[in-house]
């Protein structure tokens, strides 16, 4: 899904919330909630945050994680970085979505790489990663 399509989705929701058919009005109950707070400005500005992801897709391949994979997103001057130190993945993209997409691509690549690597050919860090990838992920058929 492109950023433009995602933005259009938000605009559609707002437009539908405003729409009321002719001769009707919204039966708005006075909820008197605590007002005066805009959610988007509510969150302190940060150039770094983490998000859990369970499903990774790239082209026609999808793998699922048995535990959430925490992807750390950092915003640089011109690019976004999506990282997971434990899995040894450091991706970059021009946008938030591109960085996530690049992360998925790399994760699927490394999943296949370590899965196909025989145990006799791994030592140290490679052995740790192979164990992690084999235990954590499952190919989605």
């Amino acid at each position: 899904m492109t950023l433009s399509q995602i933005s259009d989705g938000y605009a559609s929701v707002i437009e539908r919330q405003r729409f009321v058919p002719n001769h009707y009005r919204k039966n708005e109950i006075d909820v008197s909630d605590i007002s005066g707070f805009d959610k988007t400005s509510w969150v302190k500005r940060s150039t770094q945050f983490k998000t859990p992801v369970w499903k990774f897709s790239y082209k026609n391949k999808t793998i699922l994680a048995s535990k959430p994979i925490s992807i750390e997103i950092k915003k640089g001057e011109a690019h976004f970085f999506a990282e997971n130190e434990n899995l040894g993945i450091y991706s970059i993209g021009e946008s938030y979505n591109c960085a996530i997409k690049a992360f998925c691509e790399e994760l699927i690549y490394f999943y296949n790489h370590y899965k196909n690597l025989p145990w006799t050919r791994v030592t140290g860090e490679a052995k740790r990663l192979k164990k992690l990838y084999e235990e954590l992920f499952l190919k989605n058929k």
Partner: protein, 220 residues
């Protein structure tokens, strides 16, 4: 996180706001004056007093008072600070009764889309049954409902939000618990603790076990 009390309009607040400010300005020195909005009564728009970190603050109008934190430091510290400020309010102005107590908790859960849709069911357990032929994988949604619960009502809002600068998306869980009965400054502590518990319970019940485990650190 916001906690608010409302009361019958007290005009002395309009004229003696400085007396309250003098008692809190050491901690909340930044003064934010409300803008004049067409069609709204300026006395009902709250003044804000914020700390230097722009994290915590007070909102005060002639009929309402609230304390908020953008980064929540936990209910014990939050309630302690709120009650301390409410006492200062009660000592400064004559408030005979309270109309409403509100406890609003907004949590934004960052997410990454899966196949272009919002992975709602990974994070929260709200059952949405769609008709046959309509997918339950949503590209966008907005849900608001008000429910009666013990001692009050709670407004729950679930919708995705997107940051304009970074395009990062998150699911905004917005809970607003309120009660209107048997409220006064002397029983405020008990009522505020109850409000916190009700909202906490809803949050614990609405998030999935998988997300709860993630919050506890069970992640890679």
């Amino acid at each position: 996180m916001v906690c608010e009390i409302r009361f019958p309009g007290e005009l002395s607040i309009e004229c003696q706001r400085d007396k309250f400010y003098a008692k809190v300005r050491d901690q909340y020195p930044n003064l934010l004056i409300p803008k004049a909005l067409p069609g709204s009564a300026s006395s009902l728009e709250p003044y804000r007093f914020e700390d230097d970190a722009n994290n915590s603050g007070i909102m005060l109008a002639i009929n309402k008072f609230s304390f908020y934190q953008r980064t929540y430091e936990g209910h014990k510290m939050f309630i302690k600070k709120f009650l301390k400020l409410a006492k200062i309010l009660g000592d400064t102005f004559k408030l005979n009764k309270l109309n409403r107590l509100g406890w609003r908790y907004i949590n934004i859960i960052p997410f990454a889309r899966e196949d272009g849709t919002i992975p709602l069911n990974r994070f929260i357990s709200i059952g949405i049954k769609t008709p046959e032929g309509v997918s339950e994988d949503f590209e966008n949604l907005s849900i608001v409902f008000i429910s009666k619960i013990s001692e009050g009502s709670i407004t729950t809002k679930v919708e995705p939000v997107i940051r304009e600068d970074s395009q990062e998306e998150g699911i905004a869980l917005d809970f607003d618990f309120f009660m209107t009965k048997e409220l006064n400054l002397s029983n405020l502590k008990e009522k505020v603790n109850n409000a916190h518990m009700q909202t906490r319970l809803l949050f614990e019940n609405i998030i999935t076990d998988n997300y709860r485990e993630y919050l506890r650190g069970n992640t890679i």
